[in-house]
Each structure stands twice: as C-alpha cells, then as structure tokens.
C-alpha cells in the first residue's frame, strides 16, 4: 500500500514535469490548444463576476429606491418578457390619470408620498446650445420622497409650481453642464419643446448604469407637461408606504381605492397594474438565471471543442512519443503508469489553460469594475468551479489518448521511428 502510494506520487510529479516540459517545448501549439479552455474559463469567471456585480448593483439600487415604494401604472412592462399577451391586453385598460394620483393621495392612510409622473424625450435648447433627446419627466412636488434626487443648486419643484402649471425646471447634471458650461444656470431660461422654462435647480451627478446615461434628464411640473404635450396620457404613480411593515397593506389599500374608482366588481380582474421592487427582483433573478443558463451552454460547447482539440493534440503527442512509450515500457512501466502519465499530462494542459483563463477572467472582471459602476465581485466558487471543470475536461478527453498509449506493444513501440 505504502509502496503503491509512493509509486503514484512518483507518477504524478513525473507526469506534471513531463507535461510542463511538453507544453514549454511546443509553445505555439500549447497556446492554440489551450485557447478554447482559456476562453471558456475566462467567460465563466468574467460572466459570473459581472452577473454577481449586477446582482449586487440591482439589489443596492432597489434598496436605494426604497423597498417600500410601489408603482401604479396601466401596464406592467415586465410582462413584455413574462406574458406578452397579458401585456398587450393591459394596454387596452383605462389610462392612469392625474385624478387617480390625487385620489390616492387623499384617500390612502398608509402612504407617505404619492407622486404621479410621465416621461418623454425631446431636445432642450438654451441660446445656441442644445442637448438632444433629453428625458423630460413630469413629476409632482413629492418626487424627492419616492426617489433619491440630490440637489446640486437651487431648489426642487414646489406645490405652487405644480398647482399653477408653472414653467419651472430642475436640470440633470449633464443637461446643465452642456447648456450652461460656465454660467450659473439658476434663473435662466431653457426651451423645452417650444416652451420656455425657468431653471430653478440642478441635480447632483448620478452614477450611470451599464452605459445608460442617467444625467441627461430634466424634471418639470406634471401639470405643465400634460398641458404642453397633451393630457391624454397614462401616468405612472409612485407610492411610498409609510414604513416597510405597512407596505403590503399599502399596496392593498391602493388596489382597493383604484378598484372602487374603476367600479370593478369582486372577481373582475384589475385593469391596472401595481408593481413592486420585489417583482423587479424576481424578474432580475429570472433574467440572471437565463443569462447563466445561456452562458453554461456556450461554455459547454467551447469546452467540448477545447476538449476535442486537446484529445487530438494528445493523440498526436502519443504518436510522436511512441518510442518514448516503448522505452518506458521496456524499463518496466506498467500500463497504468503510462495511462497515468498521459492523463496527468492532459489534466496539466487543461489546468494550465484554466489558470490562465482564471487570471484573464479576474482581470476582465476588474476592468468591468473599473470602467462601469458595477461593483467588482469575484465569487470564489466560480474559481473552484472553473478548476473542477478543467480537471474533468482533462480527464475525460485525456482518457482515450492515454489508454491508446498504455496499450502500445513495447516491441512495436521501440521499433517506431
């Protein structure tokens, strides 16, 4: 037993040594051989890390947005992905009006803020300067209660702004910078869709998500927006529950009020949609699962291709080293020793590929962390997983060449040129 273990340890260290020798001796071939494995492992590490980062990000954002905020709207946009027919059906529902938001605000006991909103995109001008395709949000004075908006200069919109349809605007940092590079924007006029608005405030810069520009926006009173761009629009109403405990009851309260307003009988389906952060999280979880599955598929294919290449390279290597195998057998190597040697060689090959892949993957994840707002997060199990995978690939695809080598007839092998 002790002797056998000693023999196997000898064979492993010998095998690793031979494999590293062979890899070094054939650098280009090794590189090409390992490319697939490297790519597969790189994608595992990188994508798992990015997904992890996105996951963290989404959760942080949801928490930041306030887990006790829900949204009332005509159609649930998440249904585009989950139930498209239901989504199309819901587009026929009555629109959400300003009056609905006002009713919620007056009648809800469990809400601390109710903020109707609508978004559109137009160009914004100031003098000879312009910013194209700015997101114009019509909101009520309660918007800072339902979403994080940090002021940079000036003030938020006020109740008076809303009630009097005043032409006031608070600019996103990018719009303010472009329109008023060297000037104090407060009190100046900007032209939004043909109407002049007075700048009453500007926002702090917000972090961009996945290349999504989040500072090219402006907030105007919802009343002014409806007046200017037409009132026949369905709004989205953001409701903040008084506290987290009251959240589920607040959702029910809003639903009941809406059903009464719409005159829905018991048993009739809601003809409006209430979405919560939890739904968003569930949706995100489904989405990331989908991405992960797709990744698994791609990685599997790459690994199979890589494995087949490695198998072929190993077969070539066995042929090239037939005489070496003959010599080893003549000197007393048993079948198992030869099998083991070539298996260790294959596993060493894939493991080297795996380690390079892990290194590049970590680097890629680091780049993503450095150049995007996604947090840099490398999951340790993705590294373990990668190593297990390359190990398995090495064994699986090394087995056939190794067994071919081990079954060579020593007489024939020694005669091989």
């Amino acid at each position: 037993m002790v002797e056998r273990r000693a023999r196997e340890t000898v064979a492993i260290s010998e095998g690793i040594r031979i494999a590293l020798d062979a890899i070094w001796a054939q650098k280009l071939r090794s590189f090409l051989t390992l490319l697939c494995v490297v790519i597969a492992i790189l994608s595992i590490i990188a994508v798992v890390s990015v997904l992890d980062g996105m996951d963290k990000y989404v959760r942080e954002e949801v928490v930041k947005a306030g887990t006790n905020v829900f949204t009332l709207e005509r159609a649930n946009e998440l249904e585009i992905f989950t139930d498209f027919n239901a989504f199309l059906e819901s587009l026929k529902s009555p629109r959400i009006r300003l009056a609905d938001a006002q009713a919620l605000r007056q009648e809800m006991g469990l809400a601390s803020y109710v903020d109707p909103g609508y978004r559109t995109r137009v160009n914004v001008y100031a003098g000879d300067r312009s910013v194209e395709n700015v997101e114009i949000q019509g909101r009520s004075e309660e918007y800072p209660g339902v979403e994080d908006f940090d002021l940079h200069l000036g003030r938020h919109l006020t109740e008076t702004d809303i009630e009097t349809n005043r032409a006031s605007v608070v600019l996103g940092s990018k719009v303010a910078e472009i329109l008023f590079p060297d000037l104090d924007p407060l009190g100046r006029k900007v032209r939004i869709g043909g109407r002049h608005y007075e700048v009453v405030g500007t926002f702090e810069e917000r972090a961009n998500v996945l290349g999504n520009e989040r500072n090219s926006f402006a907030i105007i009173p919802i009343t002014s927006l409806l007046q200017q761009f037409g009132a026949r629009r369905s709004l989205r109403v953001y409701v903040k529950a008084r506290d987290l405990d009251a959240f589920p009851r607040a959702v029910e309260e809003a639903r009941t009020i809406m059903r009464i307003r719409r005159g829905l009988r018991p048993g009739q389906k809601d003809n409006f949609s209430i979405s919560t952060a939890e739904q968003l999280l569930t949706f995100w979880e489904k989405l990331s699962q989908g991405i992960f599955l797709a990744l698994t598929g791609i990685v599997s294919i790459t690994l199979v291709v890589g494995g087949i290449i490695i198998m072929n390279v190993m077969l070539v290597s066995v042929t090239e080293r037939t005489r070496e195998i003959g010599i080893r057998k003549a000197l007393g190597a048993k079948r198992r020793a030869i099998l083991f040697q070539f298996l260790v060689e294959a596993v060493t090959l894939t493991t080297v590929g795996g380690i390079v892949g892990i290194g590049l993957g970590l680097f890629a994840a680091m780049l993503v962390g450095a150049f995007s707002p996604l947090p840099y997060a490398v999951n340790p199990w993705s590294i373990v997983l990668a190593l297990v995978i390359v190990f398995a690939v090495g064994i699986f695809f090394g087995l056939y060449p190794a067994s071919r080598a081990s079954r060579l007839d020593p007489v024939v092998a020694l005669r091989h040129e």
């Binding site: 000898v10 260290s13 010599i327 080893r328 007489v411």
Partner: protein, 245 residues
C-alpha cells in the same frame, strides 16, 4: 572506498555463479499474416547460466531480434516455455512482464533509446521510478551507477550534449541501475565508431568479470568474438552453440 562501494552496486542482484538464468523449452513464435504463417521462432531450447557472456549471432531475418524480444520479456512465445531464474514467465500478463523487465533485465539498445528531453541522471533514474523508489534514493543510486561508467560529471547533460559512446554508457548505467540478473545488449556498438566500440565492449567485459550475465545480440563477428559463447541463429532455430575457454 568509492571503488568498493561502486563494485557493490554493480554486483547487486547478480545471481549465484552456478545459478540458472535462462531456460527455454521449444520456444515458438508464429505470426499469422493472413494466409501465410510466419515462424519467427521455430522451437528454440536454450540454457544460460549466471555470469555467462553469450553472443547471439545471425543474419538479419534469422530471428535473433525475436529471440531477443522473447528473452527480454518484451514479447511472449506462441508456444513453449521460458523460465527466467526459475520462474516461468512465458504466460505472464503484460503488467507482470513489465515488473519482471523492471527487476530482472537491463536493456542496452543499438540506438541507445534515451529520453531526449531528460538529463543523463533522469534517464538512469527511470527504471527506479517504475520500481517505486523515492526520489532522493533514486538520485543517489543513479549517481553512483553513473560514476561507475565514468560519467558522474555528465549527469546533468541531455543526450544531445553527449557523444555516442557517452550515450551508450548512460544506457548501460540505466540497464544496471536496478541490479538486473540479465543484461541484454542489442547491437550495442552498431552506432559507434571502432574506438568507442572498443570502450563499450571493454566495459561489458568488465561487467562480465564482476559477475553479470550478458546476452549480446550482434551480426559483427568481431564483436561476437568477445563473448565466451556464441549462439548462431538461422530461420528461427539455433544453428550452432559454441563455447570457448
């Protein structure tokens, strides 16, 4: 002191002088080549005692390579029996034969058959690797045998950095390292010039004097004359078997 130790190493494993090393009974090796049947070995019975120095001679195609492979346990006979040091080895499995080769037989080949990417020392260590010896012991033993063949200073060289004679001496060291009971040399001077050949043959003489049993396969009468016994093979049979004092 060093000389004595080295002598002890070389003598290790060499059997008693009057022991029987090889006994074959009617060895047959028949290759089935489609319709034709090739009798590469056609009933060879042979007895070789310890510390004999035999030359196996014969023209190419005579069956001397087949005989060499059979006696070296690289191949098994179709029929007949082969006793190596009293143990019947003609019906052993491939792995059992590998173990016998590792323990009992030292090979010296015409083209040296060294591993090109390994140093002289690593080459000599190889049989010990398959014997399962620990690395430190292996290295010590391999160094000692290399010293015996006069190559201690070359132990870290690769075969490509060695001359033909040096390579063959590494191969001989490798053949000796496990203390085999039989040294099988297949045309050991076939790839060497006459001066180096002389050196290698002198080394073999020396090993014989120290108690080793040597089987030398050659077609060169000059080389064959070094042995005390000459076995001539033709058409898979022993044609003649002469001993000289």
């Amino acid at each position: 002191m060093a000389e004595e130790a080295a002598r002890a190493v070389l003598a290790t494993g060499a059997p008693d002088h009057d022991g029987e090393v090889i006994r074959t009974v009617e060895l047959m090796k028949i290759y089935d080549r489609g319709a034709a049947e090739v009798r590469a070995m056609d009933g060879v019975s042979l007895l070789v005692h310890a510390n004999e120095y035999c030359a196996i001679m014969g023209p190419s195609g005579s069956g001397k390579s087949t005989l060499m492979n059979l006696l070296g346990c690289l191949d098994t006979p179709t029929t007949g029996q082969y006793f190596l040091r009293g143990q019947e080895v003609s019906r052993l499995s491939e792995d059992e034969l590998a173990e016998i080769r590792n323990r009992e037989i030292g090979f010296v080949f015409q083209t040296f058959h060294l591993l090109p990417r390994s140093t002289a020392l690593r080459n000599v260590e190889l049989p010990l690797v398959y014997a399962g010896m620990r690395a430190a012991d292996r290295r010590d033993r391999a160094r000692e045998v290399l010293r015996q063949v006069g190559l201690e200073s070359r132990s870290d060289h690769h075969p490509s950095e060695l001359s033909g004679g040096e390579r063959q001496r590494v191969a001989i060291a490798r053949a000796l390292v496990n203390g085999p009971s039989l040294l099988l040399a297949d045309e050991p001077t076939g790839n060497l010039d006459s001066r180096t050949s002389g050196e290698i043959l002198a080394l073999l003489d020396q090993l014989h004097e120290r108690g080793h049993t040597i089987l030398l396969v050659t077609h060169d009468p000059e080389v064959g004359r070094r042995a005390r016994r000459t076995i001539r093979v033709r058409d898979g049979r022993i044609e003649s078997d002469e001993r000289r004092g």
